[in-house]
């Protein structure tokens, strides 16, 4: 049995969904976006860009909530988020 209480207004809450855009060639592989993504959407990829860095890749696109923390933390302006609509909230989602 779940210990989590289902909020009464869960029907009204909409969860935003974001899409991650990465300009791989701008990336310098600092890892800020991966480290501070609160939902673990990103991971370091194995591929190299033309400067020899490993850009991030999206591993769990469905988890992106469009918070855009990666976007503002990226020192190289290489990643940004666009909002792709909203879905209904659900417990554990």
């Amino acid at each position: 049995m779940s210990l989590v209480r289902t909020p009464y207004d869960i029907k009204k809450i909409k969860v935003p969904r974001g899409e991650v855009h990465i300009v791989k060639e701008r990336c310098k592989g600092c890892g800020f976006c991966i480290e501070y993504c609160p939902n673990g959407v990103l991971a370091l990829s194995d591929e190299y860009n033309e400067k020899g860095y490993h850009p991030p890749k999206v591993v769990s696109p469905e988890k992106c909530l469009s918070c855009a923390l990666c976007e503002v933390l990226c020192p190289d302006f290489a990643i940004w988020i666009t909002l792709q609509g909203e879905v209904e909230a659900k417990i554990g989602g």
Binding site: K28, C30, V72, L73, P75, W80, I81, T82
Partner: protein
């Protein structure tokens, strides 16, 4: 970033309209916090809804000095330490412009220290974004006026033995009306602070503690930029209104961040009775 804007832009990074894209990629090293700080500044500009034609940026020399070259506003990359007096000239002769000084700790506090003091004393309406990376990075990692005691640099090969400047205290004592400090990690709060500083009539200083991943962290064996960000995450304490004398930064110790000073003082144009006095609040 202004979420509204990021939601509507499909065709590129939302910061791009405010950058000189023909100059990107920039020269900053991987893991450097200046790009992040620039992000915060642009986010603040977007929030402020200010006329971008009436906004100009003045930078000095050094890594942070390069900001002027990347931001798509009227921007001046002037001499080492002289960003504030240059900006003073612009502001005084064209008071309706919003002038932002974006430069580093060495530029503004060391060689430009005198100008910093006097601009704060005059309380001229400038927004100063001071990126503090504890070192002269552009020239290869020399000791800076902000280098914590015992930290290694190329010109303090046995550890720094000079006590560093406490920038918020310096700014407050000299007469700044708004003083805040954040790290490059406190990106949302930093953005908010820049907005506040911008709206504040008078000399406003926002210090941004930022990782130098190439020299400061390497010479002191702190790992990469991301490791310094993690350090900030763990060791930053937000204490709004903390007396500025407590804000010394010690080597690898707690960093107190927050908004420390927010006060009113007569500003130069408001009180000099000059021809443009009415342009100032």
């Amino acid at each position: 970033m202004n979420t509204l804007e990021s939601m509507t832009k499909q065709d590129g990074h939302p910061i791009e309209p405010l950058l000189r894209m023909d100059r990107i990629p920039h020269i900053w090293c991987p893991g450097c916090g200046i790009g992040t700080t620039l992000n915060a500044f642009v986010a603040a500009v977007n929030k402020l809804d200010v006329d971008r034609d009436k906004l100009c940026v003045v930078s000095g020399i050094g890594c942070t000095g390069r900001v002027a070259g990347y931001i798509k506003l009227d921007s001046f990359h002037v001499l080492h330490g002289r960003a504030i007096p240059f900006a003073t000239g612009i502001k005084l002769s064209h008071p309706e412009l919003n002038v932002v000084v974006f430069s580093g700790d060495g530029d503004l506090v060391s060689i430009g220290g005198n100008h910093f003091l006097h601009a704060a004393r005059r309380n001229i309406n400038l927004t100063v974004i001071l990126v503090n990376n504890f070192i002269y990075a552009m020239t290869g990692g020399q000791v800076a006026p902000t280098t914590p005691v015992t930290a290694y640099t190329t010109t303090s090969p046995f550890g720094n033995f000079e006590p560093p400047s406490n920038i918020p205290q310096l700014a407050e004592a000299a007469g700044a009306v708004y003083v805040a400090r954040w790290t490059a990690l406190h990106i949302r709060r930093l953005t908010k602070s820049i907005v506040e500083a911008f709206r504040k009539p008078g000399f406003a200083v926002v210090e941004v503690v930022s990782p130098c991943s190439m020299y400061y962290s390497r010479l002191n064996r702190m790992g990469e930029g991301i490791d310094m960000m993690k350090f900030y995450h763990k060791n930053s304490v937000i204490k709004h209104g903390e007396p500025t004398e407590n804000l010394d930064i010690k080597f690898q110790k707690q960093i107190i961040v927050g908004k420390f000073v927010d006060r009113e003082r007569p500003a130069i144009l408001g009180s000099s009775g000059g021809p443009d006095a009415e342009a100032e609040p």
